[in-house]
Amino acid sequence: MAARTVLEELTEEDALSPEYVGQRLDDWAARVEALYGEIERWLPAGWTARRGSAVTMHEELMQKSNVPARKLPTLEIVHDAKVQIQIRPYGLWIIGANGRLDLIAQGELFFLLDHAKTFERPSWQITPAKSPRSFKPFDEKQLRNLLRA
């Protein structure tokens, strides 16, 4: 399948097929799951991660294509028996990113955005919501900075 941006995806064709929308959702769920797995591997001793309550995803494109709502898991990062960081899938079809999750750490909101094209290897970037263009690659170092904050 040809890689393209969400902007191209939403404007090059009149309608996307339900099958295609389903494939995009499967890919999104797999990217979210892989990201959670990576985060769990990056956690230092004393920190754990667990799945929190799921969020329901039923975006406009899914509704128009008669694709049923899906549930995606959230991730809670725990230290000293307290949830320190919460990560929630926000949305897939965002003009400017191939999906976004919200990361809440100590009451501050961050956006985790995939800047890769559709069906490409993810390129996760993080930026504070209060400074939405200050992107940094989201990697082990960035996660550890958040844990120290």
Binding site: E8, G91, I95, R100
Partner: protein, 157 residues
């Protein structure tokens, strides 16, 4: 695009206040409120996108008029030919659809991801918003503004 920076700054200020409200709604587990705020954010994205689009469209029109004038005033017929059909002083540049105006100032053959292709995609986004057909969950307006400046840099007069 003299007002683009101001529009982008105003958008950012408004969206930040929405994000503060949304963060509180998530903390309070108030799902209906969170959804209402997200709906407002989408409408705000679309409104500000259209305002920003107007700035780029005007830039393209100005560049197109400048190109027509320059080519019409060229003494070499090879440079002038074809351009005398258009009146650069006419307010709507009638007879020159938007995609052709873009093709006069940006390379139409530059392929996927090129400034020309992006302008056409953003034009379709603007049309979809105007007709209530845009399926995006959000528009990264700050990212769009950054893209518009790249496009501006590629425009030839």
């Amino acid at each position: 695009m003299k007002s683009l920076q101001q529009i982008a700054a105003l958008y950012e200020e408004i969206d930040k206040s929405f994000e503060d409200e949304r963060l509180k709604a998530i903390g309070d587990a108030d799902e209906p409120l969170r959804q209402r705020i997200e709906q407002k954010q989408l409408l705000s994205d679309q409104a500000y996108f259209v305002l920003c689009w107007g700035q780029l469209e005007s830039e393209i029109d100005d560049a197109c008029r400048a190109t027509i004038r320059r080519r019409q005033s060229n003494s070499n017929w090879d440079m002038r030919r074809g351009f005398d059909f258009y009146d650069p002083d006419e307010r709507r540049l009638s007879g020159l659809p938007f995609d052709r105006r873009v093709a006069i100032v940006l390379d139409r053959a530059a392929g996927s991801g090129s400034p020309y292709a992006k302008v056409i995609s953003y034009y379709e986004t603007r049309n979809k918003i105007a007709h209530g057909r845009l399926e995006a969950k959000r528009i990264d307006v700050a990212g769009v503004v950054a893209d518009f400046y790249v496009i501006q840099g590629a425009i030839r007069r």
